[in-house]
Amino acid sequence: MNQLDWIVLLVTMLGIAAYGAWHTRHTDHLDTYLKGNRTTRWGTIGISVMATQASAITFLSIPGQGFESGIGFVQNYFGLPLALIVVCAVFLPIYRKLGVYTAYEFLGRRFDPKTRLLGAAFFLLQRGLAAGVTIYAPAIILATVLGWRLDLTIIGTGLLVIVYTVTGGSAAVSLTQKWQMGVIFGGMVTAFVILLLRLPDGLGFGGAAHVAGAFGKLQAVDFSFDPDKRYTLWTGILGGFFLSLSYFGTDQSQVQRYIGGAALREGRLGLVFNALLKIPMQFFILLLGALVFVFYQFQPAPVFYNRTEWAHYTSGPKGAEFQALEAKHAALHAAKQEKIQAWLAVRDKGDAAAEAAARTAMVAANAATDAVRKETKAALTAADPKAKVKDSDYVFIGFVMEQLPHGVIGLLIAVMFAAALGSKAGELNALGTTTTIDLWRHFRPLAAHDEARNVRVAKWLTAGWGIVAIGFALFAGFSENLIEASNIIGSIFYGVVLGIFLVAFFLKKIGGTAVFWGALAAQALVFVLFFTLSISYLWYNFIGCAACVILSAILHALLPDDAPASTAP
């Protein structure tokens, strides 16, 4: 990064944070602090919902996913539009009708205090555990690539988000997210255009797409019923539906983004905005990764994309072995380039047999380079069992640093930080709100009537969660597997929480005692299955939800005194 990049990065990030904090510095009403301005329109709500979901990892890892495995990951989002229809039609009107601050406050109205506390506890446990990861995950990648100190990157990012989130609460979060998403969209479109311009002359988007397709990178929809396949149309619709319904309907970090606003209409249209744009947006990011793959087919490509880690090991005691692997990969890559050129030459000549033969040779050449990459990762692990061998997260950021002009590099680094700040702000805001409303106000009902004190407490608790997140990121010592573990933890709890809410909305005769014990039993069942089965963790969203609903219904039949609260909607 040069001076221009630093100016772009600092002006955009500090400018947006300062603007958000300054503009909302007089937020002294609890309602505005926790729900945002009452004048907020659907565009701001829609962008805020999108920004909360899209973390820095979205823009670092998903292009890497497109590069490595193709765009099939887009199917993971197929359940999202359907889930958002349910949230718009059922969840949101009831939250607005009851005027709740948190989704768990609704459980207290519908069932009883213990069920409300259970829902809030599940959220705080799951989000609290993930709190450090959302700062740590992008910081480790950016610090590695940019040569920054990891601890200072974590602390700087964490303190910046704490300052404006604590100052203006939900109003500041929505306001800054709008500008941050502007930076993100601008940066990603710029990267896409420059990538297309950097492709070989005459190839163009169509030619690049044909190359990517020939290597199997553009298989967006898989209709197969093979249970061993991770991403198919069916797992995307079913698993994605339950995951999205739970996330958007019951996770306070999302609920908080859309329950405020000028009217019910604004929240609904904000969600519809996401239902329409989310799949195209994810497709675009994955396609960007697939096109980066094509770009490297016509350029010298590294054998290992985490160049900092690679430089460390090649200068170590086994450096000669790694350099030999690098040379082997370079030779095979050059041979592959010839095969690709040969395939492109015969592709449009109408000779199907020659085209098929050239394609087979090209795919075989790609398998040979892939084999050397696998061999390299195995050698790295043998040399150092703690080596971070997952390099796909470094593909896009490496492309940015090496191929984009100065100024645009600063803009793309700003994209990563904007995404990290936006998602972290939504998360801290929700953790502070849930702790204030569902714990502090619950246990201090008299003090809860003092609005100024409520706001002060919410600010202190938001700051406290921010400090916890920074401390967790600094000292937890995450590994790559732990980052995935945070997703697994989410799936373990999400299903049961969704089950509680589905009972609340659709099984109106069931009361708090049945659903409370049903939820605990379902959670225990999910834990047992998690430690005994080896199925994909996405299935626990469905299993936990179904178990909670069924067990609540059975317990309701067995418990004669189980009845809904009198204030149930």
Binding site: H29, L30, D31, T32, K35, R38, T39, V74, F78, P81, L82, L84, I85, C88, A89, P93, R96, K97, L98, G99, Y101, A209, H210, A212, G213, L218, Q219, A220, V221, F223, L233, A262, A263, L264, R265, E266, R268, L269, V272, A275, L276, I279, P280, F283, A448, H449, D450, E451, A452, N454
Partner: protein
């Protein structure tokens, strides 16, 4: 909610600063009309919007499947 409680644009009235010093205001219950029109040109009901979202979803999946086939 009474019509007087709404702003001209139909949104709920913002919290009153001087209504109850030191107390939690009652402004957090907006009481939206359940059958509020979407106010989107071409759509008279929310059901129409949801059908549009569903049809768009099906069209996007079909377009992605076609994209996969064209560039396979």
């Amino acid at each position: 909610m009474k019509p007087a409680d709404q702003q001209p644009d139909g949104g709920p009235r913002p919290p009153s600063k001087g209504a109850a010093p030191g107390r939690v205001s009652d402004s957090r219950i907006p009481d939206d009309p359940a059958d509020e029109a979407p106010g989107v040109p071409g759509f008279r009901t929310w059901k129409g919007i949801y059908v549009f979202v569903f049809v768009t979803f099906v069209a996007v999946v079909a377009a992605l499947a076609l994209f996969s086939r064209v560039f396979a």
